[in-house]
Symmetry: C2
Subunit: 407 residues, 2 copies
């Protein structure tokens, strides 16, 4: 596997464009579009929230009922959630506009929205946006980048990644982009992420690969504990790498899985590090747990703790809060047996062992915690399973952004 | 039932005192003590956190193994959690000091601590604090009040309440005090609360009453989602009201339950409203749910949502976040069937119905949300069960308090 520059246009046969449709923001692009030259098999995972946004309802149908997908239309600013029959109608109209312009059947068009809940989309502006994007669709790296910028809301950085990998004697490519900054606590699935690959793979294997991988990537991040109504990961595979079609869990599948994992983990960490108001990416690694599921639960409990997140913001080695968060996670363990470390590029220190804080240097701890990427390492001493979770610190700016998001 | 002034000294035969022991804070009292003139039956509920502070371990033993309890010693500033055998030894020494001075057997002395995790208690100061308090033990309202002040940490207000109630032809009294401002997300039990009553009741009935009532009171509040290592509710009943001893769920039990519920709910709401950095008490009432447990889960999900809490701070009628929090609670429902209202002393407005936002006035909504006590009313339209939960808004000051709590 090799990491390359690019995003959703990195794989063969994928074009993208962006437009300023004036949906909510001024002076910036707020719509993006991805089109595959040829029909692609699709996989998707969606929010587990009972309240599902209209685009989630639309896409679930497309992914489950159609054999292929060709295009994705995305808007930022309005989430099209809690918008009733009118909102669902706008998904159909959006897809219809693509059908009219590109002769792609509307049931092969995916849609995604992010932004405020409960407002209706200005559908005429959306359609005008599609009309403006179509002549600009391009497979250039730049067009993929513009798409990544256009789907941002409170994000401060665009999020893109791409890799190549060997499969059946061919080189295939997988690229992706995502957005997500607040209302981030994916459960079963996540925020908006769009992945494109030219690998040839069956729909079943594609779905299996995505389902397996998100457990350790998108489902292991949290910004604020709020599972959105719009969480969506879409993965399109158009087969243009011309490898023998992957239809079973063979070596080629493993190669694709490795690429997918890298792309998903990279996007997931970028989202966590760019959480609303964040000044640091906060990672928790749990090792030597008795089961994989316990490792995941413990890691996620720490990165979700408001008190721990505030301490990270303050560069304060308040390890009692970490132990507290492990303790209320629901996983049973012996607090006297485990060890805690703080770790960053500035160093690594043992902070807790045998039921007591160690005689660590507060100065050194503060230096480690002042880095923009901070890791808490938890050694459970129980078994062989490990997991990581990613979050961010809790800051004044998180409160500021969310106390008055709508205006 | 009648609401009266007072707290832990309201019931017959309970004395209290406070002292400045210099455990962490300067220029304030940081220890309190409650003593019953006669042996009292005791009930307690404690944190479900796997990491249990030393005083929790000590008290669990006293409450479960001893037939009665006589005294409680409390300190603020250091939690005596994650302190190993040394920390547990300090509980024994604390109780031993009371035994030495008051001839109360040390296994009838309860202890409680709140503050920073991982530091050892200065036991000599603690013992000196006990020696200073003993001559001042008094059943005056003022001494109960001083105890309520002494147990505060980041609390901004003391929390006391008392009621009288009729039982078996006698008037009995129940009073209590509590503290709790951060690391508040009780599970099975809660932060520090101390309840004293002169009712005559069996240990079994006392435990049953407490266990039942906390489900709808202390367990329905959250400040930050962090379940503490020290959560403790202690209830002492010394029988001095001279009513026929309550040994079954009769009319007298119902009368006591009513009093207990009022006291617990009042203390719970005071804690939520005085959550770290809070400017408002944020209540969510769920009505017409299909089961009681679903009503509780839904109500608690809303008051725990960081995004909703930030919106309450901003007086922003961002109802989409409320719907979102109901949706990820784990309870299944039809989002198109439910109704949402905002409510406060300034009025009540319908904000969501039939899957859509109503045509409400933003100005009116902002006025309602600007009150210091704000209620979200959720009508599930599914059945006859109801529940309420209490939290607070998420503010800059929450971050400020917790980014640098230790220094």
């Amino acid at each position: 596997m090799e990491i390359i520059k690019g995003g959703v246009t990195a794989a063969k046969g994928f074009r993208a464009a962006a437009a300023a449709a004036g949906i909510k923001y001024q002076d910036r692009k707020d719509m993006a579009m991805i089109v595959s030259e040829v029909p692609a098999v699709s996989a998707g995972t969606f929010t587990s929230n009972v309240v599902k946004a209209a685009p989630v309802q639309w896409d679930r149908k497309v992914v489950s009922e159609e054999t292929c997908a060709r295009a994705v239309v995305i808007n930022a600013g309005i989430a099209n959630a809690c918008t009733g029959a009118e909102g669902l109608g706008y998904c159909r109209e959006t897809a219809g506009e693509v059908e009219r312009q590109l002769q792609i059947p509307k049931n092969q068009v995916l849609v995604a929205s992010t932004g405020v809940i409960g407002k209706q989309l200005p559908i005429e502006r959306l359609k005008a946006g599609i009309d403006a994007m179509i002549p600009n669709l391009s497979d250039s790296m730049e067009s993929g980048h513009e798409a990544a910028l256009a789907i941002m809301t409170t994000d401060t950085k665009e999020k893109e990644v791409a890799v190549t990998f060997q499969v059946g004697g061919k080189v295939a490519t997988l690229g992706g982009m995502s957005k997500g900054s607040g209302m981030i606590h994916p459960n079963m699935c996540t925020m908006l992420a769009f992945l494109t690959t030219d690998v040839a793979i069956s729909k079943e294997m594609l779905a299996e690969a995505l389902k397996e991988d998100i457990k350790d990537t998108f489902n292991m991040i949290s910004v604020d504990g709020d599972t959105s109504t719009n969480d969506t990961v879409l993965l399109l595979a158009n087969g243009m790498a011309e490898n023998p079609v992957i239809t079973e869990k063979n070596e080629d599948y493993a190669s694709f899985r490795e690429a997918l994992h890298y792309v998903n983990e990279t996007l997931a960490k970028k989202m966590a590090g760019d959480g609303e108001g964040a000044t640091a990416l906060f990672e928790t690694k749990v090792i030597h747990a008795d089961t994989k599921e316990h490792a995941r639960i413990l890691a996620k409990s720490v990165i979700c703790s408001s008190l721990t997140k505030a301490a990270i913001f303050g560069h304060d080695a308040n390890w009692g809060r970490i132990l507290c968060a492990l303790g209320y996670s629901g996983v049973d363990f012996d607090p006297e047996a485990i060890e805690l470390y703080f770790q960053s590029k500035s160093g690594k220190i043992l902070i807790y062992r045998d039921g007591l804080g160690t005689d660590y240097s507060e100065e050194e701890a503060t230096r480690i915690l002042s880095d923009p990427e901070v890791t808490v390492l938890v050694d459970m001493k129980m078994g062989q399973e490990a997991a990581a979770a990613w979050g961010c610190d809790l800051t004044y700016d998180y409160v500021k952004i969310n106390a008055d998001y709508r205006s």
